[in-house]
Amino acid sequence: MTPAVCHFAGRVREAVGSPRLLLAGLACGVFAMTLDPGFATHLRLSLVLKMFSLSYIGGFASVIGPGATSSPGQGRFWSTRFLGVDTLDWAHPPLPLGPKSRILVESLAAVGIILLWRVILEPVYLLALPGGSSVGVPGFLWDRLVEACLIVPCAVAWMSPSRFRAVHVIRILAIGPLVAVWSLFAPRLGTWSWGVVAVVLTLGLLEFSQVRLHLTMPFRGRTRSGALVRRSRPPASQLRRDLWLGPLKNNLLLTACTVVALAAFAVAHGMPKGQSFLAGVVLGLSGAFLFLPLGVPLLGRQDRRGGTPLFGGWFVRAWAALPVRRDALLRGVYAHGLIWGGGLSLFWMTLPDLDDRWLIAPVGLAASVSVGGALVCAAVGDKWRGMLSTSAAALALGAGPLAWGLDFLFRVWIGWPPVAIAIAAIAGGLGGLPPLVHLVPRRAPNT
């Protein structure tokens, strides 16, 4: 068997074979039943099953109880090891997976087992007991889907080690309310639970992003050659492909989660589902284009050496040895700024009850070209033009309130809307035009 299969088989054995976990699950189930003595028998049984399922998560996380591998000891109850900081590097066979992949896989495996359990066993009770069949198969499956959406981010957040002990303590305190929400409300409150999902998802992502590779996890598996290579294309064609797909592919999980979270929040706050989903998609995707042109981080140092992270010019220098034209690369970066501005404008347009909707087009255009210019300057390390473009983008975005303020103070005779358009136009010119010098193809003097 492969190490991965052995690993997960061992984890299942830990969860099943830990009497503490099963007893804890049973106790939780009995406690939950006492909350409402009028519960139907099948709901009581369902609760007990849920609590048993929770014990599985505990087993997988190796946090509540480390199972059969070892015990934390009395004096180390609050130690970082017991709280999960060291769990990834603790008593597990070597796997060719990074910590984040491992957490994700283990969370999905745990939730998969829970769902399998519930989808197979619960219908038996539901159908056998009086009134149980009234839920119906589609309703039952929908409840399980909602449940999975709630429990996956919970499991990810729970299993993600954090550097701060306080986070682990807060997690332990928060698990009670989360369990109550999950076991008592989530499957029956439909839309409301999506808001909870969005909150938990955001928290889960934040926790997940905290996972650091400096947890001592030496690479002990062999690399698959396929993981180090992708299909090659002519450089110009590959550049075009990366321009559109790179930001999404290299950040797919975060983008998808952002989209779902934004859409869920918007639905919970009364926006029409289609509209809010579109808004979430547009803003989530355009954000990825802004910070990850071609799928490569635009800002920040590319290695340990010093230099300003904002306008250091690392991006273009990192591409310098590749067989791509510099001007083509920078035109792509500029286009990413335009995409972001367009996405932001579209997002505004989808907002309900927005006054002065006509202002979005000129402000959005000015902000787009300015942001595009700022991105180009950040890419090449042009500090002064970059600061000008950034300021111009801020000016364009604030054109409406600024014009309104000017009109309020000085009573402009043409009214504030034309002033706002003029401010946006000036900002667009100041921010968008100067960086264009970097987009001009280089002449060839070496002839």
């Binding site: 690399t223 090659s232 140092r301 040895a321 067989p323 003097p445 002839t447």
Partner: protein
């Protein structure tokens, strides 16, 4: 013969402030390891950047594989691997970095990459910004060699490398020139390494060519490259 030359330079002049690099004529044929040596400020890095198309000339011509590297960088860099300690690499995990780069080269060799990762003792799950200087140098070497370039240009490849890393570097360079169609141009201050691996030498001093020719002929019997540079006043 001229068509087979990998690099042809004629009447090259580059001005940078008060510094001027001037190379009247220089060529690199296939199957050679060419060492570029000279003191700091001699123009070694400038010359290598010109060959890689990272810099424009102010006069004269540079042709690599028959193309102008500045005007047509894509045509040149598909077969030219350039490594400099000054060039940053993408801020991502090593395996994703290598995967990203592989899409731009038809000749990318994943098996070679895997073996280089093992030889240079790099973990593909490490992140670029967490690497030490020496590890960063090793990674740059891998990215420059991974697509089996016809011409490999190495600017100070030994900077930050420990003894084991330098040994691996030398072995890798010698592996490359086992193919008679491929050449390596390497500049370094580690003269013992240059003397050991280079077939040809280009000695620069204050932007001017001091000596050029076969290493064994230039250095001569009974003295080291360091002593020869001393004798030529290029230290």
């Amino acid at each position: 013969m001229a068509d087979e030359l990998l690099v042809q330079i004629a009447g090259l002049a580059v001005h940078r402030g008060r510094f001027t690099l001037s190379v009247p004529e220089w060529t690199v044929a296939p199957g050679q390891v060419v060492g570029v040596v000279g003191p700091n400020g001699a123009g070694k890095s400038t010359l290598l950047e010109l060959i890689a198309g990272l810099r424009a000339t102010d006069g004269g011509g540079v042709r690599v594989f028959g193309h102008d590297p500045w005007g047509d960088p894509a045509a040149v860099r598909t077969a030219l691997g350039f490594m400099s300690d000054d060039l940053p690499v993408f801020a991502m995990r090593i395996d994703r970095l290598l995967q990203t780069l592989s899409g731009y080269y038809a000749t990318w060799d994943a098996t070679l990459v895997e073996s280089l990762l093992e030889r240079f003792e790099l973990n593909p799950l490490d992140k670029v910004w967490e690497l030490s200087r020496g590890q960063g140098t090793r990674l740059r070497l891998i990215t420059a060699m991974a697509f089996r370039p016809q011409l490999l240009v190495l600017d100070e490849p030994a900077a930050g490398l420990d003894l084991a890393g330098r040994r691996t570097l030398i072995e890798s360079v010698l592996d490359i020139v086992r193919n008679p169609q491929r050449s390596v141009i390497v500049s370094s201050h580690v003269l013992a390494d240059i003397e050991r691996i280079s077939d040809e030498l280009l000695v620069l001093h204050k932007g001017r060519v001091v000596r050029t020719g076969r290493t064994d002929m230039l250095v001569g019997d009974g003295r080291t490259l360091e002593e020869a540079l001393d004798a030529w006043g290029a230290v």
